[in-house]
């Protein structure tokens, strides 16, 4: 993705300049808000962060092995 997506006159946000898309940025913000919740509300909120999908390659009309891809920890581009 190109870094400078707006007209020359408009300034880009710092996250756009650094290479984050709006989706990544807003999901990162949401994750931070969730981690600052009180323990009671936090548990039900943290479930929303799970991102995973299951996929399988098909050959000869048969589904081969199910592969589960879990992006929960990788999606938001966390630090360390």
């Amino acid at each position: 993705a190109s870094v400078e997506m707006s007209s020359p006159a408009a300034a880009s946000s710092y996250w756009r300049v650094a290479g984050y898309s709006y989706l990544k940025y807003s999901n990162m913000c949401a994750e931070m808000v969730r981690s600052a919740l009180k323990p009671a509300a936090k548990e039900s909120a943290k479930i929303r962060e799970a991102v995973y999908f299951r996929s399988a390659k098909w050959a000869n009309g048969q589904a081969e092995q199910n592969v589960i891809t879990d992006l929960t920890d990788g999606a938001a581009g966390k630090l360390g």
């Binding site: 650094a18 290479g19 940025y25 949401a30 808000v33 969730r34 981690s35 600052a36 009180k38 630090l79």
Partner: protein, 222 residues
Amino acid sequence: KQETRKMSLRRATQSGLSVVRRMEAAQRGLVTSALRLDEEKDQSAEQKEEFLKKFEPIGGTLAPPEFPSNFVKSSGEASQEGTPDKLKFNFFMPHDTVYRGEQVDLVLMPAVTGDFGVMPGHVPTVAELRPGLVTIHKEMDKTVEKYFVSGGFAFVHDDSTADVCAVEAVPLEDLDPEAIKAGLADYTSKLASVQAKGDDYEIAAAQVGVEVYSAMNAAVGN
């Protein structure tokens, strides 16, 4: 093709336009496409009926389809009604709804360009929200609710309806001041250490952390 004023007035009257438009059209002695569009709108009701009749026998269990014109108010209507005394407020998240069609007096929102308040009759606006507090005055200064939003968008429509779409919106009471203090200190130190390395990506991530935690810190009143 020249039309006389009399002819255009007759035409305008026949197509069922509002009085103002009729007079305007007559005075200018013009034929405008707006007159034709309004004629088409009258026909569209019949066209919809026809389509729905054709759809019914093959629709099965499907609900009958909607038409774009069902959702669009003609531009004159909203301004003619006058300003309602309450704002119709919707507050959505992807996974949940905080408010839908709630009648409120005032909503304060933290936009990227600055804070602004929405009351009935507010000019139509689209605003990107920054992490901050959305304050809802159901009864001005009497029933006040605060939600911290992580970001999103706010839309104000011309009929005194406002929508806030946030990724995450939590009641202010649900934020943990201790966790916020710790997180803010954590990200501030991370920012300092990462800036030395010069990796834009990581610096931005730390900056986001500082931005969000500072906003939460201010909201909670630390």
